[in-house]
Amino acid sequence: MTGQQIRRIVLEQAMRAHVGHIGSALSVADLLAVLYGRVLRAEHPADPERDRFVLSKGHAALALYAALQLRGWLSAEELNRYGGDHTLLGVHPEWQLPGVDFATGSLGQGVALAAGAALAARLQHSPRRAFALVSDGECNEGSLWETVMFAAHQKLANLIVLVDLNGQQAFGYTDEVLSLTPMAPRWQAFGWDVHEVDGHHEQALAETIATLDTRTGPPHVLLARTVFGKGVSYMESQIKWHYWPMSESEYAQALAEIGALS
């Protein structure tokens, strides 16, 4: 599974359903490819001993659906119901869809769910890990920092948070809306094990995650530097593409740029 494969599905489905949130989904494509392709341990979607994953930035659900399909947990037929009527594949993920551990959509809640999952694993003497993927804009939410405090205090070594640090949020650039710069010292001050990584370098991401001590010590955060809209030149770092759907010509150009036409 690669990020480019996820991008292709994201573009195809966003075009077919005429839905936005494309830039956010492209931003996390490589992170999800690493998680679903190499990191998350699970025999099947209902495996009780599977690692848990929370897409706390639920608006990137299309990239998650793409990863689920590439993992073999979601059929192409089901995927084609994305954004339609009477579908579990909405713009934000629903837990009733096999492969989705928790429904999300309201920002600042998913890390608490993952912390509960991590705490449960420890209490049950299980090696399960819990992952949460948050956006940088989501770090505006005070509730997220409640959990950041809690997880460090409880030494939830099996909790791994990935921050999609693309520098953008719905209505502007994060440094202009509500600055979180510098991000790393904030997490360090709360007692987390902090790793600054390139969120588009799949091999480096996988290697970093493999080095984490998930049995003892503090919880882990990967501050993943990403480019909003990564792979499609006219979307990259453009606020418009938080919500905007593509035209036919924009779609053709996007496919060409991610190499889907070659």
Partner: protein
């Protein structure tokens, strides 16, 4: 009810290792026995109610039955969206315990009053809402409900002495408990204000105007059929709740009357606006807002006399 809750929860926890207790830095001089007997199953999560509910959701998803504890507004209102998107949406057995309710934290002011907790909880599908009338009923209610599959909101009072005469701790889900019958008026109450309603009912009987008093401890799922049966037998009903008049028990009764087209006049005894900044003891506030027994008697007599002969 607080001591009864802790005592009962400890008995249940001794039998079922899934039970956990999370506190939002409240419960001093109340939760210590649980903490001391089950140290690995008690967490003071700090003053962070949103995280408390989120963590409880993750625990419940993995098979635990977490109870989260705080004062009613901090348990119900602060993390409300977490409750909605967490245990309600995922249908997980998180138990939200709102201590106090009404004016039980009287001198602490509006921030500590629980005046809309029942209302905001009972509009959510998929949650059970329980407000016991006294400590005996609290114990029975907890024993009858702790194992239910979905989330539960418990509004519990602090009083571990007062009992509602005739209730004898009776509780079952989906039913009303009748604690006295008389023909002149139907009275329905919920939560710890039930003892005031019971005293008012006794005073009315002593004045030759006996009414019927029902305790509605489960507000969701509401016992609508049984409620409609009672309402059909009376010309007037008076609801008594330590809650805003809107949204709680009185609104529930109004819905049943309206939807069934019943000819029963409704008088809602509840709290109007609490915006003047004046606080005091619980009994002072009950008097101020027309919930003390004398005011309830006067309102009941007025209601009975207003009925056509």
């Amino acid at each position: 009810m607080r001591a009864a809750f802790v005592r009962t929860l400890m008995a249940l926890a001794a039998q079922d290792p899934r039970i956990m207790l999370l506190a939002g830095d409240l419960g001093y001089m109340a939760l210590e026995p649980f903490r001391d007997q089950f140290p690995g199953r008690f967490i003071n999560v700090g003053v962070a109610e949103q995280n408390m509910v989120g963590v409880a959701t993750g625990l419940a998803d993995a098979g635990f039955i977490p109870f989260v504890y705080s004062i009613a507004p901090f348990a119900a209102l602060r993390p409300y969206e977490f409750i909605r998107n967490g245990p309600i949406q995922h249908q997980l057995p998180v138990r939200i315990v709102g201590m106090g309710g009404g004016f039980e934290y009287g001198t602490n002011g509006l921030s500590h009053y629980g005046l809309e907790d029942l209302g905001v909880m009972r509009i959510q599908p998929g949650i059970t809402v329980i407000a016991p009338a006294d400590h005996q009923q609290a114990e029975t209610a907890l024993r009858a409900s702790w194992h239910l599959p979905g989330p539960i909101y418990y509004r519990l009072g602090k009083d571990d002495k007062t009992v509602v005469p005739g209730l004898d701790g009776r509780f079952s889900l989906d039913t009303l408990e009748c604690v006295g019958e008389g023909p002149h008026l139907l009275m329905i109450t919920t939560g710890s204000i039930a003892s005031e309603a019971a005293a008012a009912a006794q005073a009315l009987a002593a004045q030759g105007v006996p009414g019927t008093l029902l305790v509605a401890a489960t507000l969701r799922p509401a016992p609508c059929e049984e409620l409609a049966g009672w309402l059909a037998r009376f010309a007037a009903v008076m609801t008594v709740e330590a809650h805003y008049r809107e949204g709680g028990l009185g609104s529930l009764v109004a819905e049943v009357i309206a939807e069934r087209g019943l000819r029963c006049r409704l008088v809602r005894c509840g709290v109007g606006a609490v915006l003047d900044g004046l606080s005091g003891s619980q009994s002072y506030l009950h008097q101020k807002y027309g919930l003390a027994r004398e005011a309830l008697v006067a309102r009941a007599l007025q209601t009975v006399r207003a009925q056509p002969a």
